[in-house]
């Protein structure tokens, strides 16, 4: 057993609990603890990728209790992939937030809630037990409700309340699905449940449970038609939290959990494939159509998040190996460039005091690093070679064509063109052109914030290399293998890899 696995959850929890006791006085204590925890988790997640070469699946039995009686933490290809995504973005965001929070009071509360959210997300990604998935999902979700309301201004509170109500409805449906699954299978361990469901014909139960899970996890992932909370919550939150929410929370709580439950427990059928492809196309279209007319920078980015999650669900819903790989690759890329875009918007908002694109202009003169990184992220999201977004979007379209879903590929191309138009508008109005009088004295962001932006931008530029076969065998292929193996693979892992 690899004893670092529970530390992914225990270390941020310990940090979060340490901060109310120690962090009230001096500011460097809360900053230091938060930065130390997230950077060490990021390095640990890279190390977990290397450990996967030794053994394809690592099963950790908490407390020494045998599965299926105890809670087991499972590190397989998909978990390691998500761990890297979550912790890399979290480390960059904490680095950015060190100076961003100068405008806020209550730094230690921010870092405490942030570490709780990271602990929750790591828990969702690592757990092999369905109720533990629900509990850690709720930890991360409640922490995020608090973080969206962090500034306690009017709009933030309204957005946080709406987000909390809709998030709670989603969680209730997840719990309902869980109750039905438990009443049928009498076990909570995902691998055991997969084996049980495979061995028996369950008729309409799987359909009902699938409906509840798509509703619940789809609401967390902001799939259309459950997306109504996202355009209010993501712009109103402070910029580092918008980056975390849009970049990793909707993916680990929504997309990863949905994929894990559908592919590894319930089993992937052509009917589910059609549903996911339909939801994906709907999200892509509605997200980008509503984004094109936006003039609020962050609200535009939030609508584009809905659209890009549609790409991910389309890729994953195709079910073919190329489709799964493309969807997961786009998940990673989107986490990187969407967080970068939100962090950039935070710099712009703090420097100029506004998010309205019509009142900005020519910021490239005064904010060169921010302008450069926004250019990189915009080209990545619009799908311009050689940025990472181009490769993943191209692969999604190719996978759709290969699976003979020609309409899906067509809409994906249309949405890509509209995304390009939308971000050309952003760049033109915010960064290019002339600098208005009242913006002559804006300052560039401090060094720590610039470092975080540049790190993410570098990954945007070179991220395409992750598709090369050597790197792909480390990063993407294990994850695709887990999803492709299905419930049989999940059930087998319990027996073969239990220590």
């Amino acid at each position: 057993m690899w004893h670092v696995i529970p530390l992914f959850i225990a270390l941020p929890l310990a940090g979060a609990f340490l901060l109310p006791v120690l962090g009230r006085g001096r500011r460097w204590v809360s900053d230091g603890v938060s930065l130390a925890v997230t950077v060490s988790l990021c390095l640990g997640s890279f190390w977990s990728l290397t450990k996967l070469q030794e053994s394809a699946v690592w099963v950790y039995t908490v407390g020494g209790w045998k599965p299926p009686f105890g809670i087991s933490l499972v590190l397989d290809g998909l978990s390691a992939f998500m761990l890297v995504t979550v912790n890399l973005v979290a480390a960059a965001v904490v680095l950015y937030a060190l100076r961003y929070l100068d405008a806020f009071t209550g730094r230690w509360q921010f870092h405490c809630l942030f570490l709780l959210m990271v602990a929750g997300m790591n828990g969702v990604v690592l757990t092999g037990d369905l109720f533990n998935l629900f509990v850690t999902l709720e930890i991360a979700a409640v922490a995020s409700y608090g973080l969206v309301a962090f500034g306690t201004e009017r709009h933030e509170l309204e957005a946080a309340f709406k987000y909390a109500v809709m998030g709670s409805i989603g969680s209730l449906f997840i719990l309902l699905g869980l109750v039905l699954l438990y009443s049928y299978t009498s076990t909570l361990n995902m691998a055991d449940m997969a084996a049980y469901l495979q061995a028996r014909e369950s008729g309409s139960l799987k359909g009902i449970v699938l409906g509840f899970f798509i509703l619940g996890f789809g609401l967390k992932a902001a799939l259309v038609p459950f997306h109504a909370w996202l355009p209010d919550a993501h712009p109103s939150a402070p910029a580092p939290i918008s980056a975390m929410l849009s970049g990793v929370l909707i993916k680990s709580l929504g997309v990863y959990a949905l994929c894990r439950v559908i592919f590894c427990v319930l089993g992937f059928t052509p009917a589910i494939s059609e549903i996911l492809i339909g939801l994906g196309i709907l999200s892509m279209l509605i997200g980008v159509v509503l984004a094109v007319g936006q003039w609020d920078f962050k609200r535009l980015l939030a609508y584009h998040s809905i659209s890009q999650v549609g790409y991910i669900i389309l890729g994953v819903g195709l079910g073919t190996p190329l489709g799964l790989a493309a969807g997961l690759f786009h998940l990673f890329n989107h986490s990187i460039f969407k967080s970068l875009l939100f962090l950039d918007s935070g710099v712009v908002e703090q420097a100029t005091g506004t998010r309205d694109l019509r009142r900005l202009g020519g910021l490239n003169h005064r904010l060169p690093v921010t302008g450069g990184t926004t250019l990189a992220a915009s080209m990545a999201i619009a799908g311009i070679p050689p940025f990472n977004g181009f490769w993943s979007k191209l692969l999604v379209i190719l996978a759709a064509i290969q699976a003979e879903h020609y309409w899906a590929a067509f809409w994906a191309v249309v949405v890509s063109v509209l995304t390009l138009a939308s971000f050309t508008k952003v760049l033109k109005y915010a960064f290019l052109g002339d600098l208005p009088e009242r913006l002559r004295n804006v300052h560039e962001a401090p060094v720590s914030m610039r470092t975080a932006l540049v790190i993410l931008a570098l990954i945007c530029v070179v991220g395409g290399v992750l598709w090369l076969p050597e790197l792909r065998s480390w990063f993407l292929d294990p994850a695709v293998g887990v999803l492709g193996a299905g419930p049989a693979g999940m059930a087998e892992s319990l027996v073969r890899y239990w220590p």
């Binding site: 310990a14 109310p20 006791v21 908490v62 407390g63």
Partner: protein
């Protein structure tokens, strides 16, 4: 509050507090455990606050101490989980298990119950204080 309420509170608040501790300490033998016992403990302080007002509660348990107890309870729980590594696995029950149905038995379960009780009790009481004594802007300006 009236004299009747204050007298009854003075008589019962100690009993409620003791009952909460009984539920916590016997958590591994009877239904209950850390969470329920913590709620009852918090309720005894809420009872005191409702009857006598904020100053009496502040004299018995200052807000600063409540915050400290809350944090220490949480840290104690994570500490117990991490100490499980001494037994080989995270969160392992590494203390001696003793006789069944005895008070000092079941390894780490009683200390974990006490840690949860501290966290939940102090946490719920500080939530109560924050919500009840939150002053709106127009009240503060008076």
């Amino acid at each position: 509050m009236t004299v009747v309420v204050k007298t009854v509170t003075r008589l019962t608040v100690g009993l409620i507090f003791l009952y909460g501790w009984y539920i916590v300490v016997h958590g591994h033998l009877t239904p209950g455990g850390g969470f329920v016992g913590g709620i009852i403990l918090a309720l005894s302080f809420v009872h005191l606050t409702l009857a006598f007002g904020r100053d009496a509660a502040e004299a018995t348990l200052p807000a600063r101490v409540t915050g400290l107890v809350e944090g220490l309870g949480a840290l104690l729980f994570v500490g117990i989980a991490l100490l499980g590594f001494l037994g080989g696995v995270f969160f392992r029950n590494f203390l001696p298990k003793g006789e069944p149905f005895a008070l000092f038995s079941a390894g780490i379960v009683p200390p974990a119950n006490i840690a949860i009780c501290l966290k939940v009790g102090a946490g719920l009481f500080s939530v109560f204080l924050a919500l009840v004594f939150f002053r709106f802007d127009w009240e503060r300006r008076k």
